[in-house]
């Protein structure tokens, strides 16, 4: 089954404290070598019928992202199995 995925990320110039907090927490896990982390949203939309990219783009533009602070991308994705 196919679904549409909308990725929403804060614009690069907007400070992302969540990402910063993760970067700062990494040394506690023994991880070094990470220069930056940004946290955004991944929104999966399932349509009743065929996935409709145009409609998804409209939803993203009007509702899912706030253009003042966020950028988004829209794509169709084949369902993949989760690999923990």
């Amino acid at each position: 089954m196919a679904r549409v995925v909308v990725d929403v990320m804060l614009k690069p110039e907007i400070l992302d404290p969540q990402g910063e907090a993760i970067v700062n927490a990494l040394p506690r896990l023994g991880v070094t070598g990470v220069s930056s982390v940004r946290v955004g949203k991944r929104i999966e939309i399932e349509f009743d019928g065929e996935p409709d990219l145009d409609q998804a783009r409209e939803i993203a533009d009007k509702l899912l992202a706030n253009p003042v602070i966020e950028d988004f991308t829209v794509r169709v994705e084949q369902e993949e199995s989760v690999q923990p």
């Binding site: 907007i14 404290p17 969540q18 509702l63 706030n66 003042v68 602070i69």
Partner: protein
């Protein structure tokens, strides 16, 4: 005929009854408005109260912006009706593009409740005319997504046009750019702020009664409008 001030209840609004109480204390007639209403029931001004409309899901204010009542509200705002957004109401007004900028998660990432001081930077808006220029007032802040952001050009514009209405004094509580706590539109009739003036209207339950001025301001403004002596809506630009 008394002045009617409406307070919109969205699903998840929480401080709606507090706003209604403040309106009453200020001497106006409080009117409850419902998010699904198609009109504003003849009110003279509208408050969008605090709370978590639609659970603040996705982004605070993002879903409430599409409520049916927002259509007549947008029209009325364009025609100069005083509109105030408090906390979640401010977030909704930004999402609806009635006010510039956006409110995002606090820099320290916690919800924070605090009594704090603001400076009234513009006392000529519909909602601040009772204050002295530069008056310092003590009110309540309580929010998790209260960090005001906008691009540098917008910020400069706001500053230049005197549209920063309230600024935080002392330690910046959430990382808001340029310590901005509240802004207005170009005409000065639409104001939004993160802190809660309606929780500073009674000595018994708030840190001060400084917040009452917001509600008495709009009454004075409406009185001036109806007596034809209004100058205030244009006030934003003339700081």
């Amino acid at each position: 005929m008394s002045t009617k001030i409406g307070v919109i209840t969205f699903p998840g609004s929480l401080d709606d009854r507090d706003a209604l109480r403040a309106v009453g204390l200020a001497g106006a007639e409080p009117v409850s408005l419902w998010h699904a209403d198609a009109n504003l029931r003849g009110v003279d001004a509208v408050i969008l109260p605090g709370g978590f409309s639609y659970g603040d899901y996705l982004r605070a204010g993002a879903i409430a912006r599409f409520a049916p009542v927002m259509e007549p509200l947008m029209r009325a705002a364009a025609e100069g009706m005083p509109v105030l957004g408090i906390c979640n109401g401010f977030q909704i007004l930004c999402e609806a593009h009635l006010l510039p900028g956006a409110l995002i998660r606090n820099q320290h990432m916690h919800f924070r409740t605090r009594d704090l001081w603001l400076r009234v930077e513009n006392h000529r808006t519909a909602w601040t005319s009772s204050y002295e220029p530069g008056q310092e007032i003590q009110v309540v802040l309580k929010s998790g997504e209260g960090r005001y952001v906008a691009d540098a050009r917008t910020l400069d514009e706001l500053e230049a046009e005197g549209r920063v209405v309230f600024r935080y004094l002392g330690e910046n509580p959430n990382g808001s750019q340029r310590d901005i706590a509240g802004v207005c539109n170009a005409a000065g009739n639409v104001v939004g702020l993160m802190p809660h003036p309606e929780h500073a209207v009674e000595a018994l339950t708030g840190p001060s009664t400084d917040g009452l001025g917001v509600f008495t301001s709009v009454l004075a403004h409406l009185a001036r409008v109806s007596s034809g002596t209004s100058t205030a809506t244009a006030g934003a630009a003339s700081r």
